[in-house]
Amino acid sequence: MQRVFTIDTEGDLIVICRLMNIFRRKGVKLIKWLMSATADGFRVAVLFDAAEAESEHLFNFVRRTEGVNRLASGETASALEGLLPVM
């Protein structure tokens, strides 16, 4: 099933690298990866395809990752709309 994570991080690109590495290592099929700078750091919106149990594990993995300030999860691609300014 498709799922969207919206992730706010600290302003340290290492955290973004870490997040990308998590998605790579967990073998998640990425459909869209959007990123922009915010006043406090970075915001990443990820659309991906994964089984429900996997996405739940991934949700918990990402939310406990150092440097992640906030994580929201949505179920449809429409959740991406309006989340990010055009880069």
Partner: protein
């Protein structure tokens, strides 16, 4: 005028404020300003002979104290050499703070001499990594690094230190440490979950506690013992959990998994409730996942929410500090324990005893050769109850896990998740620095020891009284065992007969060394090894054909464990003995 000092001085003061009393490291160009400041800083520094040993020693220090261990190395190769140690710490959730030198900021990304992308390389090996850019930010970053290392699920944190920040001057603003003994762990569990867990526990008749390293990190051993005794639920531990529950306790089942005892693995297969405490259902524990504890409802306690249900579906996940959750469970069970199921629990414990009698953890005794299990038994017999045992990876590690009696937590050091050979000896050094008065015994194999034996110079230089017991089978024993059992005895590149005489090598470094080749000499050698406060090495020439049993074949279920060597093999071992003799 403000108190303006160099970044190096700020760094060392920040470390002192985090109660750092010892560091393990090796200097080089990028950290020379820091070592210059260290000259008069009042923090002890142990000069290792390879950076990997610095990481392992910091890990050993952290495991026995619960405090972050600190290692300090230079840029480039110094930093890259740390990575195995940091990965091991990450896998076992050990709080280590690694300080790495870096080229001056202006040279970063320009391929300067001894520049490596330490942050990039360390990314999957650490819980968090920081790169400092100015002297002024050092106090806040160092404080955060230490806090991160011990908070939540502990882990290694790396701080990369460009030389420019170390020489720059600034007026430091230090962060006040909260001085908390125990790290803050967020509570996510709810009271209704505790009620549900208590109901499940009281409904069960054949329950088991399956306890891992998380219980050690949470220092949950008093609550674990109380809960186990209150509910009469027996306790099995993972490799990481050894020591958290005394081996001699009547409710102790020892270790489960690939080399767990028959009765423990059998109980795992038959239990109707499995309560995992800070354990992550590792493949070496579960065997074939779909057949792991097939009859059991499962409750999982873990500080890391991403561990709940990661490998195996659980009926109830409780996220938070293991100690707090166990305390809540104790209270909940006490409130509800009416019409106790004690007699049925007794039947379950009797059943486990019966399985234990059928196939006790045992080995073929011999006086013609030194059985490695016998060496472990002797060390266990003569070591103090608070002795710390540090192991490498392989057969000797499993024999130590099986035959050494643990009385206290934080007395067992093992690179369990990563399985890094070469860990045991340097980790023992780190532990000994933390507790100079306690016995620290590195039980190693001849394979792993050859990976980090250069630090014999370190223990000799500082007279670190580590005891090194080599179970020398002249081979990569666990690889040989797998080639024997699973690869039709096609022994390929496991021969370590070309090795130095370890006893003479120890003497060359200025350490007492001896070699033991006969069964009858083992007891006395162990007693002598443990008799003084000096470093020493004893090279036990053990039976090279000995294998670790029981063993669960890779990919099999615990029920398919091989309990003992096949009869025919016992005869073939003689042939193998002859081969080795040649």
């Amino acid at each position: 005028m403000e108190n303006v000092i160099t970044g190096s001085e700020i760094l060392l003061e920040s470390l002192k404020r985090e109660n750092v009393d010892v560091m393990f490291g090796l200097p080089g160009g990028a950290v020379l300003p820091l070592y210059d400041a260290l000259y008069s800083a009042g923090i002890r520094h142990l000069l290792v002979r390879h950076e990997q040993a610095a990481a392992f020693a910091a890990d050993g220090y952290a495991r026995v104290t619960g405090k972050p261990g600190v290692c300090l190395v230079t840029s480039g190769p110094g930093a890259t050499n740390l990575m195995t140690g940091l990965t091991s710490a990450l896998m076992d959730s050990i709080p280590v703070v690694a300080l790495t030198g870096q080229v001056p900021e202006a040279l970063i990304g320009k391929d300067g001499f001894q520049e490596a992308d330490t942050i990039g390389i360390s990314l999957p090996c650490t819980k968090r990594s920081f790169q400092i850019r100015s002297a002024a930010e050092i106090p806040a970053v160092i404080h955060r690094a230490f806090k991160t290392a011990i908070s939540g699920r502990p882990g290694p944190v790396l701080v990369d230190l460009p030389k420019s920040a170390l020489v720059e001057k600034a007026a430091p603003i230090y962060v006040k440490s909260d001085g908390a003994r125990r790290p803050v762990r967020e509570r996510e569990w709810r009271d209704d979950q505790i009620d549900r867990a208590a109901s499940i526990i009281l409904e069960s008749r054949q329950a088991m506690l399956y306890v891992g390293g998380g219980a050690v990190h949470a220092e949950a051993w008093p609550e674990l013992a109380e809960f186990s005794e209150l509910t009469q639920i027996p306790v099995t531990t993972t490799l990481m959990g050894l020591g958290v529950f005394p081996s001699c306790h009547p409710l102790s089942l020892g270790m489960l998994g690939m080399h767990g005892s028959y009765s423990t693995n059998k109980a795992t297969c038959e239990c109707d409730l499995l309560i995992a405490v800070g354990a992550r259902f590792d493949d070496r524990v579960t065997g074939r996942l779909k057949d792991f504890a097939p009859k059991a409802r499962k409750i999982q306690l873990d500080v890391d929410p991403s561990e709940i249900g990661k490998n195996i579906r659980v009926d109830l996940g409780l996220v938070g500090d293991a100690r707090e959750i166990l305390r809540a469970l104790i209270d909940a069970v006490k409130c509800r324990q009416v019409g106790s199921s004690g007699s049925e629990r007794r039947l379950w414990l009797d059943q486990i005893d019966e399985w234990r009698s059928e196939h006790p953890l045992d080995y073929e005794k011999s006086e013609d050769s030194i059985k490695p299990e016998y060496v472990i038994e002797m060390i266990s017999r003569y070591a103090n109850e608070d002795a710390i045992v540090s192991v490498d990876v392989g057969q000797h590690q499993m024999w130590a896990a099986q035959y050494y009696d643990f009385y206290q937590p934080r007395t067992w050091l093992s690179s369990s998740g990563l399985g890094a050979m070469g860990y045991g000896f340097p980790a023992a050094m780190g532990a000994q620095l933390a507790f100079p008065e306690r016995q620290v015994i590195a039980i190693v194999g001849d394979g792993g020891f050859q990976m980090t034996l250069n630090d014999l110079a370190t223990v000799a230089q500082y007279r670190v009284p580590v005891k090194i017991a080599i179970l020398n089978n002249r081979a990569l024993g666990m690889v040989r065992q797998w080639q024997e059992i699973f690869f039709e005895k096609r022994y390929c590149d496991i021969d370590l007969n070309f090795a130095p005489d370890f006893a003479k090598l120890a003497e060359a470094y200025g350490i007492r060394g001896s070699k033991v080749e006969h069964h009858d000499d083992v007891k006395e050698a162990v007693r002598e090894m443990l008799s003084d406060r000096e470093p020493c090495l004893v090279d036990f020439w053990v039976d090279p054909a000995e294998n670790v049993y029981p063993i669960v074949p890779p990919g099999a279920s615990l029920a398919e464990m091989i309990v003992e060597p096949p009869r025919v093999q016992l005869e073939e071992e003689q042939v193998l003995d002859d081969l080795w003799a040649v």
